[in-house]
């Protein structure tokens, strides 16, 4: 199975390189190193969010409320900054992260304690969180000139030639690799998604593990809230509207199985990058906006189709092993 995942990641790497080559034929400056760094920076927020979503999907759940959580945490951070310009930025980030974690834990508790289907819970909280932004802000925008310079400058701060936003996503990728591979929690995500009943027998608390997955996705959404608002220097009710679908698409393209139990940090990151390259390339290769939507959609369906095939092959392999054991 590990080999298969490796293959899949390799497949994605090849796909991304092929995509870049294709774009370069139409618009060569796109593949200049400086521009590729920009593309990575632009995709950083999607990568962070996709990693949170991956943890949730691994446990056979889904988090549709991530973009709404991002928007609410981001709005709270922006309003805090507008009201108290003297407040240190790290404190504001901490508030956004804490708020995001709290919003995620609400999802987790509803799934855990009330046993409501995750898609229903997060569809509900998606609407509630968006509504809360309106209540909080009264529908007003927080604009660039209301934010302090330090608040806007942080993700743009250049370290060794790369913006802090890019570095931050790299740090989070590293943390997630450790969490998923080296901690009991990470293994619990996989075990639970692979077979929830078997996981119970190995002593894993299914509800609690799912709760923690939602806390993780909420925390990352909260952090992304600050990053988003600061990067685009504007906060309003509809920021990141519909972005939850991009996050899920990144996971699916990256080989995270919607049925749970299968996925990897590398896959989710590559899935997000694949989408990021497309999103950044479409504006420069000069094609109709209607075709753009169709292309984005087609890519997702192709990815799911490839995914389904990959999973089927895995099934056959297990069966053969089982037969061999019996015979």
């Amino acid at each position: 199975m590990k080999l298969l995942l490796k293959n899949r990641e390799m497949l994605l790497v090849v796909a991304i390189i092929a995509l870049l080559a294709l774009i370069a034929m139409r618009f060569p400056p796109f593949v200049a190193p400086g521009n590729l760094a920009n593309v990575y920076n632009d995709t950083s927020i999607l990568i962070i969010l996709a990693l949170g979503q991956m943890a949730v999907i691994l446990t056979r759940c889904i988090d549709l409320s991530m973009a709404a959580n991002l928007a609410l945490s981001g709005m709270a951070a922006a309003m805090l900054n507008a009201a108290f310009p003297g407040l240190p930025v790290p404190l504001i980030i901490l508030t956004a992260v804490a708020l995001g974690a709290a919003l995620g834990s609400i999802n987790g508790l509803l799934v855990w304690k009330l046993d409501i289907p995750p898609i229903v819970v997060t569809l509900g909280t998606l609407t509630i969180y968006r509504g809360l932004i309106f209540l909080l802000s009264g529908g007003a925008w927080i604009n660039a000139h209301q934010m302090s310079d330090a608040f806007k400058a942080l993700p743009r701060t250049s370290i060794l030639g790369f913006p802090l936003l890019s570095w931050l996503s790299l740090v989070i990728i590293a943390i997630m690799v450790v969490v998923m591979r080296r901690t009991p929690l990470g293994r619990a995500f996989f075990a639970l998604g692979g077979n929830p009943h078997a996981a119970v027998y190995t002593g894993i608390d299914v509800g609690r593990t799912r709760f923690l997955a939602y806390c993780l996705s909420g925390t990352l959404a909260g952090l992304s809230g600050y990053l988003w608002v600061s990067r685009y220097a504007v906060a309003y009710v509809d920021i990141a509207a519909g972005f939850e679908l991009d996050i899920i698409a990144a996971c699916v393209i990256g080989g995270v199985s919607i049925a749970g139990g299968i996925g990897s940090v590398g896959g989710a990151v590559l899935g997000a990058l694949f989408l990021g390259v497309i999103k950044n390339a479409l504006p420069v290769i000069n094609i109709s906006p209607f075709a753009q939507m169709a292309i984005s959609g087609a890519v997702i369906i192709i990815a799911v189709a490839v995914n389904a095939r990959a999973e089927k092959r895995k099934g056959r392999v297990i069966l053969r092993k089982a037969e061999a054991a019996h015979g």
Binding site: F30, N143, H145, P289
Partner: protein, 328 residues
Amino acid sequence: MKILKTLLVTAAVSVAMMATAQAETKKIALVVKALGIGFFEAANKGAQEAAKELGDVEVIYTGPTTTTAEGQIEVINSLIAQKVDAIAVSANDTNALVPALKKAMDRGIKVISWDSGVAPEGRLMHLNPSSNPLIGNMIIKLAADNLPDGGDVAVLSATATSTNQNVWIEEMNKVLPNYKGINVVATVYGDDLADKSYRETQGLIQSHPNLKAIIAPTSVGIVAAAQAVTDAGKIGQINVTGLGLPSEMAGHVKSGASKSFAIWNPIDLGYSATMIANDLIGGAEAKPGAELKMGRMGTVKLDDKNEGAMADPFIYDAKNVEEFAKIF
């Protein structure tokens, strides 16, 4: 019986008193979508200016506390009871207000709508802040005014299917030959999403190295484009302009990413609505082709749907944006 008589007499006297009071000052009600919104407070400022200029007009500034049609209907009913002479309304719903406004017109009250209109049967005329041809001309003029030698400009719109933006861009293209040396090199769509608009702007900067201006006739797009130009270090090379709100654009005008942009002036709008209402009370008739007086704003000519356009969108730049940013 006696009590009834007394009541009747009192009623008659009060009606008579009201009638004389009416002859002295005309009462014009300015009904807004909701109280406490900067845009409408500014409209009221204009209405009061008109009242002062006319001398014999009292403006009643009113509206519900939340932007609901139900709230506005209540307000209109109470204005009918107060026997105002005219109602100028910015409606929360095109159709829901019609019965209440019809009742007002049956009582001889002159009803007009402004900013956000009501269906034709519910008003005598509707005042649009501007018109599609005027807006189309303004957005290209904003770019051209800062490019005396001409140059490449691009349009960043909302979605490819947004009716308003498409009409404005179409009108802009019609008058494009009047602006010598200005080439529109691309039209891209940011879908009114901050992140997509930002990326589309980055794309424009990359694929058109000689780009001199970006026209964004949408409030999300103009802000995102200004931020993208700032982040790309292109302030001074690329001017972001279009339609936006002063409170949202103040920072970008200050930084220089946007030299100027346009949107309706709410003060002029409140002023004109009051002036038109006064003209109608004075006996002017609202019919297709009629010209109604708007004081310092000139006259408005009604089209076949009894609608008229006030003026060009108002230009905001470093000189006045701070002042208007406090209003809306």
